[in-house]
């Protein structure tokens, strides 16, 4: 005999399990600076990179389980490439991509026959008309758009309150990188090292591709000197 559990109990069990996993994973954050958007993520693994480039001016960061995040990132890449090939690269509509991913996340979370996708994401766009937006998507399909800074993952409230005190609109890249390094250092335990990935979407680059991944040496050089 199968014991009866109501649907609300099953949904609550799912939500608790997902929240526990996401609150215990490494954080990621996004900061808007004067020429574009800076993305940073704490990543102790060397094989899988958390920041993925979607198109010329779009990038996506995820926390949680990497296998579910990669599936969503692949969907975003295919949608952006189809739109760019059929129309042109300036006709790519980020909001359509965000709505499609949110729909998929919600359907997988609510339908009891499907596995929930245990991941929170940030989608950052620095558009051609100089509008910079960061969309934050949660595991149940909720969308929040911000224009200055945001954070996801474990201990996100600590990072957000720290950035709220320090952030001013129009900061330059050096201050943004220093803010990100200090914010991530706040969330680490005593014996944990900071292994961070950085990427910028820079509107002043002359190549067509505005997404650039920064190596550790470059980040140190910008943070100290210049």
């Amino acid at each position: 005999m199968v014991p009866y559990t109501s649907i609300e109990e099953i949904q609550k069990y799912r939500e608790d399990r997902i929240k526990k996993i996401i609150n215990s994973c490494s954080p990621a954050l996004g900061i808007v600076y004067e020429n574009g958007i800076l993305l940073a993520a704490q990543n102790p693994s060397f094989s899988f990179k958390k920041i993925i480039e979607v198109h010329e001016r779009l990038a996506i960061v995820g926390v949680g389980e990497f296998k579910y995040f990669k599936e969503l990132a692949d969907d975003a890449i295919n949608m952006a490439d189809m739109q760019g090939f059929n129309y042109s690269s300036r006709d790519i509509n980020v909001k359509l991509i965000v709505l499609e991913l949110a729909k998929k996340l919600d359907q997988c979370f609510t339908d009891l026959n499907r596995i929930p996708l245990i991941t929170n994401l940030l989608i950052a766009e620095a558009s051609y008309h100089c509008k910079k937006t960061i969309f934050s998507l949660s595991y149940n399909g909720g969308i929040i758009d911000t224009f200055d800074f945001t954070a996801i993952g474990g201990k996100e409230e600590t990072i957000k309150s720290y950035l709220k005190k320090q952030y001013k609109p129009g900061v330059n890249l050096k201050s943004a990188i220093n803010m990100a390094i200090d914010a991530i250092a706040l969330t680490l335990e005593k014996n944990q090292e900071a292994i961070t990935e950085f990427a910028i979407i820079d509107q002043t680059l002359t190549t067509a591709n505005k997404v650039e991944f920064l190596t550790g040496a470059e980040v140190e050089k910008i943070a100290k000197g210049d």
């Binding site: 990179k49 993925i52 480039e53 692949d74 890449i77 295919n78 490439d81 189809m82 090939f85």
Partner: protein
Amino acid sequence: MNLQKIIEMSEIKISCGLSEKDLIKIPCGTTVIGIIYNEGEGVVMAGDRRATMGHTIVLDDIKKIILIDNSTSIGVSGSVGIAFRIAAIFKLTIENFRKINQKPMTLNGKANILSAILMKNFELSLKGLAATPLLAGYSSDENKVKLFSYDILGTKNEKTDFEAIGSGSSYAKDSVKKSYKKNIAKETAMALALEALIEASQEDAATGTIHLLKNIYPQAVTISADGTHELPKEEIAAMCQKIIEEMKRR
């Protein structure tokens, strides 16, 4: 996203056959030549700027060498619309691979993909709408440059010295054959390529020459470990003037 989906999404279906009279109405004809210099250190590609339709010149400034990414480029010949569509699908497949796998495709992979795309186009090419490209690229695994030429079925042939495609290809190759050596320098290879184009334009009506009224010169591209560079117009103009003066003295 695999190749099948990309091509299905943008496919043209022609159900009626084309007669001989209609073939004259499609723009085609060209010469594009590629020469490897300094024992595999780099490759030089040059192409003319004319598109003809039967006996009339339709365009006199199209660019037939398309830069795909920082280490490859292809030159096209045959019908213009089909060739540019093949190049766009090729570029899309390579960019998509790089973003999903987070590392770029090797040169052998790109050569195989172009083969598959041409094989898909076989139905149309039997009716007269054919395109034969010339692929040149730098392979960072083997640290050398490779040149591939294709036919309408998609068979790829790797060449280690030089190759030309198009209606003026035999005239261009004849002019390079006698002076080519494996260890020539980059400037000599570029001069040989431009001279081959000028000789081909004297014999073949579908290959364009230097347009004195509108100041239009052939297009030239170099590929090596430093990347792909398209030469600016002033350099090509200066080289062409020198070549023409030498040809007058013969």
